[in-house]
C-alpha cells in the first residue's frame, strides 16, 4: 500500500497538471468558461427554491431569513455535488482512459486521484460562490470556514471509497455504472437535501440514520445554516466507515489492476 503513496508522490506534478488540464479543457472554448461549473448547481437551487419554498419554508425553525430555504438547499447541495461528482466520474475513469492504461506505463492509482482532485477544486469554487450568495442574502456563517475542511475531507473519503469500488467493478461489468446512476438519483431523494429530516415520520428515523450521506449532509447544514457544531459522534462513525470502505476499495483495486488492462 505504501508503494501507492510513493507512486502518487513521484507523479505529483503529473497529477497537478492533469487537474489543471481537466479544468482548462472543460471550458477551453466556452465564453463563460468556469462560470458554467457554478451556474449549473445554482440553477438547480433556484428551481427548487421557486417550486418548493412556499411548502418548505414553514418547516425551517431556527432561522428567520426570508431566504432560509434557499440557504438550506445550498448547504445540502454543497455536500451532495461533491459526493455525486466524485462517484459519477470515478465510475467511468478507468473505462474512459482504457487506451492510455494499455499503452503507457504509469501508476494507475493516479487516475482516481486526479478525479478526486479536480472534483475538490470544483467544489471549493462552488463553496466560494455559495459564500458570496450567502453574504448577498444577509447570512454570515463564519464558523463554517473552520469546519469545512473536515467536512469536505470526510465527504471526499466516503465518495472516493464508493466511487473507486464501483469504478473497478464497472470495468468488468458495465451495468455497474448504469445501476449506480439510478441508485444515485434515489439516494438523492432519500437524503434530506431538498426537504428537512423533520418531515420524515418518526418510525423511519432510525432507518434514515443508516445512510452515511444523511450524517454528512446534516453536518453541512448544521455548520452552514444553523451555524453550530455538527454532531461529531455521527460524523466520526461515518469517517471510520469511509476509511474502511476506502481501504477495501484500494485493496480491491490492487488485486484487480492487472486484470483490468486485459478486459479494457
Amino acid at each position: 500500500m505504501s508503494g501507492m503513496f510513493t507512486a502518487i508522490w513521484s507523479y505529483r506534478h503529473f497529477i497537478v497538471s492533469s487537474i489543471r488540464n481537466d479544468l482548462r479543457s472543460r471550458f477551453a472554448r466556452s465564453k463563460l468558461g468556469a462560470t458554467w461549473m457554478i451556474l449549473q448547481p445554482l440553477a438547480q437551487v433556484l428551481i427548487y427554491s421557486l417550486v418548493l419554498s412556499r411548502i418548505m419554508v414553514a418547516k425551517l425553525p431556527g432561522i428567520d431569513s426570508p431566504y432560509a430555504y434557499s440557504i438550506y438547499l445550498l448547504a445540502g447541495m454543497q455536500a451532495w455535488s461533491l459526493f455525486s461528482e466524485v462517484v459519477t466520474r470515478s465510475l467511468t475513469v478507468f473505462v474512459e482512459n482504457g487506451s492510455m492504461l494499455k499503452k503507457i506505463v504509469f501508476p494507475r492509482v493516479c487516475l482516481p486521484v486526479v478525479t478526486l482532485g479536480s472534483a475538490l477544486v470544483n467544489n471549493v469554487l462552488l463553496f466560494v460562490v455559495m459564500m458570496v450568495v450567502f453574504v448577498l442574502l444577509g447570512h454570515f456563517p463564519v464558523s463554517a470556514l473552520l469546519w469545512m475542511p473536515l467536512l469536505m475531507f470526510v465527504t471526499a473519503a466516503f465518495s472516493l471509497g464508493l466511487g473507486l469500488l464501483m469504478g473497478v467493478l464497472n470495468v468488468f461489468v458495465r451495468d455497474v455504472a448504469q445501476f449506480m446512476m439510478v441508485v444515485l438519483q434515489l439516494w438523492f431523494w432519500l437524503t434530506p437535501v431538498v426537504y428537512m429530516s423533520s418531515i420524515i415520520p418518526e418510525g423511519l428515523h432510525s432507518a434514515m440514520q443508516l445512510n452515511p450521506m444523511y450524517w454528512i449532509v446534516a453536518a453541512y447544514q448544521d455548520v452552514l445554516v444553523y451555524q453550530h457544531a455538527p454532531d461529531l459522534d455521527g460524523l466520526l462513525v461515518v469517517m471510520v466507515a469511509a476509511f474502511i470502505l476506502l481501504a477495501c476499495s484500494l485493496a480491491l483495486f490492487r488485486k484487480a489492476a492487472p486484470d483490468m488492462v486485459d478486459v479494457l
Partner: protein, 432 residues
C-alpha cells in the same frame, strides 16, 4: 558479446474467460474457479537482447506482437514466464497518446512528459529540445486540434524520444509523416542505437526492419517461429503470408551460410534461372550498363487456367530495386497443360550500382502471390554488378549522365556572411 539488457523467459499470455464475472472477482481473493477458459495469445516466447542490438519483430496481424510488446513495456502482465529489463524502457506504441486537442503542443508535451515519468526539472530541460526537434514553429503554442496529422506526429515523436532510453520499443509508429521527418526519426533512432540503446522494432515496413535491425524474430499464432538475420526472417515471413493449403515453406541453408526460402503449392515450378550477356553466355558478373537477358524456365506440373511469372531484383539488404510480372505486361499464360515448359526472357540494361544483387521469382495465377502461390523462391539467383567500363560513380543506380562543363566568364565572389547563408561542406555518406 555485450551484456544482456532484455531477457524474455518463457512468456505466455492468456486472456481468461470466467463462467461469470463473480468468479473473476473471487479469483482476486484466491478462490479457484472450475470453468475458466484460457485463450492463449502468446506461449513459450523466450529471447534475449543485448545492449546496442536492434531486434525486429515481424508477424501477421493478430500474431501476438503487440501483446508481447505490451508485456515488455509493462502495461500488460504476463500470465506465465518473466520479463527482465535493465534501465529505462520507453515505448512508442502509439504516437499522440494522452494528447488533449484543446491544449497547445507545449502544454501537451509538458503533461505527457509527466505521464512518462519525468520530473519537473527534467521536463524543463527537455522541453526546448522537443520544440527544436519537432520543427513546428509557432504552432508549438497553438492548440493541437489545429495541427495537421503530420504536425501532431512530429510533436509526439519528439516527445517520445526526448531522452535516450536504454531500451526503445517502436511499434509501426514511423509509417506516417512526411518523408523529411521520417528520415529525421530514423536518424535519431540510429543515433540512439549507436549510443547503446537497444531497439525493438515492430513493423510491416520491410525496409525499416532491414535498414535498422541486426536480428529479427517472427511471431506466428503466439509462438516464436523464427530467429535470425532480418533477411532470413523476412523471407520466411513473406513465404508464410503466401502460404495456402498444401503449400510448404522450406528454408535451406546454402554452403555460404545464407538461407533460401521456397514456398508454394507446386503446380508450377522454376526449373532453371540464369542471366545471359549479349553474346548469349551465362554470366554471374555483369558490367554496369551492359545488356542482359534474365531467363526463367518454368515447368507446369498440373493444368493451370492462368500462370503469371514475376521477378524482383533485390539489393544486398533485401530491398526491392526493381520488380514486375507478366500480368502487368499483359503476357499472362492461359490454359497451361501439365508437362508444358515455358521460357520467360526479360531483356534489360543493367543500370545498377556496383554490388551484389539477388533475384526472387514468383509463379502465381494473378498479379499478387497471395491468391494462388505456385512457387515463390527467394535468392533464386545471386549476381554481382561490377564497374568495368563506366566512369566512377557511387549509389545504387547507373543514371548515365551527359555532363557538360563550359566556361561562362567571371563573376564577383559571393559574400556568404552578408547573405546569411550557412553552408556546410558537402559530405558523402559512406555506409558499410
Amino acid at each position: 558479446m555485450s551484456a544482456v539488457v532484455l531477457q524474455v523467459r518463457n512468456v505466455g499470455k492468456s486472456f481468461r474467460e470466467y463462467g461469470s464475472e463473480w468468479r473473476r472477482f473471487g479469483s482476486w481473493f484466491g478462490m479457484r474457479s472450475p470453468n475458466v477458459k484460457d485463450h492463449w495469445v502468446l506461449r513459450n516466447v523466450s529471447f534475449a537482447v543485448h545492449a546496442g542490438e536492434a531486434l525486429g519483430i515481424v508477424g501477421q496481424n493478430g500474431a501476438g506482437k503487440s501483446t508481447l510488446l505490451k508485456i515488455i513495456t509493462g502495461t500488460l502482465g504476463a500470465t506465465e514466464g518473466s520479463v527482465w529489463a535493465s534501465g529505462r524502457v520507453a515505448a512508442i506504441l502509439e504516437l499522440g497518446m494522452g494528447f488533449d486537442p484543446d491544449l497547445t503542443g507545449r502544454q501537451n508535451s509538458e503533461h505527457v512528459a509527466g505521464l512518462m515519468g519525468f520530473s519537473r526539472a527534467e521536463i524543463r530541460t527537455l522541453l526546448p529540445q522537443i520544440e527544436a526537434f519537432a520543427e513546428v514553429g509557432a504552432y508549438f503554442d497553438e492548440p493541437v486540434r489545429t495541427y495537421s496529422s503530420g504536425m501532431q506526429m512530429r510533436v509526439a515523436f519528439s516527445l517520445a524520444t526526448a531522452s535516450r532510453p536504454d531500451v526503445l520499443i517502436v511499434d509501426e509508429a514511423l509509417a506516417v509523416g512526411d518523408a523529411y521527418f521520417v528520415h529525421k526519426c530514423f536518424k535519431r533512432i540510429r543515433e540512439f542505437r549507436d549510443q547503446g540503446t537497444t531497439l525493438l522494432i515492430v513493423s510491416h515496413d520491410k525496409s525499416a526492419v532491414q535498414a535498422l535491425c541486426d536480428r529479427a524474430i517472427m511471431i506466428d499464432r503466439g509462438c516464436l517461429v523464427a530467429d535470425g538475420t532480418p533477411q532470413e526472417v523476412l523471407d520466411f515471413y513473406n513465404a508464410l503470408i503466401s502460404e495456402k493449403e498444401n503449400s510448404t515453406v522450406r528454408q535451406t541453408r546454402q554452403e555460404d551460410g545464407t538461407a533460401v526460402t521456397v514456398s508454394g503449392t507446386g503446380e508450377a515450378v522454376v526449373d532453371a534461372i540464369w542471366l545471359e550477356d549479349a553474346a548469349g553466355n551465362r554470366v554471374e558478373f555483369v558490367g554496369v550498363g551492359d545488356r542482359v537477358d534474365l531467363v526463367i524456365r518454368v515447368r507446369v506440373d498440373s493444368a493451370l487456367a492462368q500462370l503469371v511469372i514475376g521477378y524482383v531484383i533485390r539489393d544486398r539488404l533485401g530491398q526491392a530495386v526493381f520488380g514486375t510480372n507478366s500480368y502487368y505486361t499483359n503476357q499472362v499464360i492461359v490454359d497451361a497443360q501439365a508437362g508444358d515448359v515455358f521460357e520467360f526472357r526479360a531483356r534489360f540494361a543493367m543500370n545498377l550500382g556496383v554490388g551484389t544483387y539477388s533475384l526472387s521469382v514468383a509463379l502465381s495465377s494473378t498479379e499478387t502471390h497471395l491468391v494462388n502461390n505456385y512457387e515463390w523462391r527467394d535468392l533464386a539467383l545471386v549476381f554481382t554488378v561490377a564497374n568495368t567500363q563506366r566512369t566512377t560513380f557511387v549509389g545504387m543506380s547507373w543514371m548515365h549522365p551527359q555532363i557538360t562543363i563550359s566556361a561562362r566568364g567571371r563573376a564577383d565572389p559571393p559574400d556568404a556572411t552578408q547573405a546569411g547563408i550557412h553552408r556546410e561542406p558537402g559530405t558523402l555518406e559512406n555506409r558499410s
